[in-house]
Symmetry: C2
Subunit: 229 residues, 2 copies
Amino acid sequence: MSDKSHKQFLCSNCEWHKLSLLSDFCERNVQDSDRHRISNHYKRNQSLFAEGSYPRGVFCLNHGKVKVFTRGDEGKEQIIHIAKAGEIIGFRAMFSGGEYKVSATALEDCTICFIGKEEFLSIIDTNPAIRNDIIRELSKELGERAIFITNIAQKTVRERLAFALTILGDVYGEDQINLTREDMANFIGIATETLIRLLKDFKEEGLIDIHNRKLEIISKEKLLVIAGK
Amino acid sequence: MSDKSHKQFLCSNCEWHKLSLLSDFCERNVQDSDRHRISNHYKRNQSLFAEGSYPRGVFCLNHGKVKVFTRGDEGKEQIIHIAKAGEIIGFRAMFSGGEYKVSATALEDCTICFIGKEEFLSIIDTNPAIRNDIIRELSKELGERAIFITNIAQKTVRERLAFALTILGDVYGEDQINLTREDMANFIGIATETLIRLLKDFKEEGLIDIHNRKLEIISKEKLLVIAGK
DNA sequence: CGAGCGATTGAAAAGACTCAACCACCGTGG
DNA sequence: CCACGGTGGTTGAGTCTTTTCAATCGCTCG
């Protein structure tokens, strides 16, 4: 909590300005959205919000990666989504009314802006077009999540790992994939040891490279073949 | 296709009128929404729409149950949701823009009204409040789906079955649960044979009763204990 | 009566997990 | 500068849950 550092920030200076869900609003109401924001620094493993608490606003990810997860009975994390810069995090709970159903934690050092509930809702109220964007976004995620469920229920761990690696490749873009083995295993829904053994296989098969703990994808095509469909 | 029978129908006469997502609209614009609808009969196993096709409207379920599912690599179904009377089906794809990501098929003989795309969208355009309802509904489902993922990834099949039975109990309400063993297995994400063996266990433990192929839940409480969290 | 689908049972195989130990790296403090 | 502790990574062996395969049963329908 106390190790956040604050900085003044302008939405229109944000490199993700035009990509985010709120861009439509920002374009039309620059004066309003350009009130100075406070960007917070979050250290690796610092929590944005936790399952069960109540939302006070949304988080706009300016830099870094954030994991969104739920916990099973024994407290084991299941990572549902890994958010990258430009994404808005934690707005679903604000609409569904109740508490957060998921938790969010910084995977690496992050810069994140906070938009309070009242402001966020008033942004939406004054700009109906955003509402459509939100519906579209939610619908899309719902479809993706259906596929996620099917994968986890029917594919072997080898297939799931291959599939997950292609997703992680997209999330990390130019960068090498930098996740602890445990986080990666919790994303795929398998045991850490199993993950490590399979990564070794994939490396020997020339599908990926491993430097230190970081992964680089060599052949996304072959991974997709293994993943199936 | 050809075995549907048609019947004139009034929304305001529909017993689900006030419960559905569109109720708000219906209340305020009775004259409009009360244009005579065509209610179709769907026989068991008849498809409402299939993954990959493009939406032409939404389905309003008046009577019966419908399974919503995706197919994995080998064509095996993964049932994502079982819809009951009063629910509106297939509106997500209309917002996300593209094709259906899921399929929907009648689990039993159903009566279903169809609302064309243009009409549905105009209903929404003329009534902003509905948009909020939709956002709330989508957000809620997204949260539920996160829990579904965690369950399927972390719980044993026994725990998952217990949990699924409580859900099915809610869906079927007063009625006994009436699903083929295969559909039930595809909902839980396990093999049919495993399901049958576990059902036998549950029956011997006095948690459920089995008549013919129909299930009756005896102790939802005990099932929830087994399911955990 | 025979075909066929869904339900059931049994036995064997396999995929993945758990447990336990060990390693490697890194920052800290003496 | 080095010993120490801690975290995260790796490996091996054994276990076990769940699946797969094969066969049988029972009911319904033409």
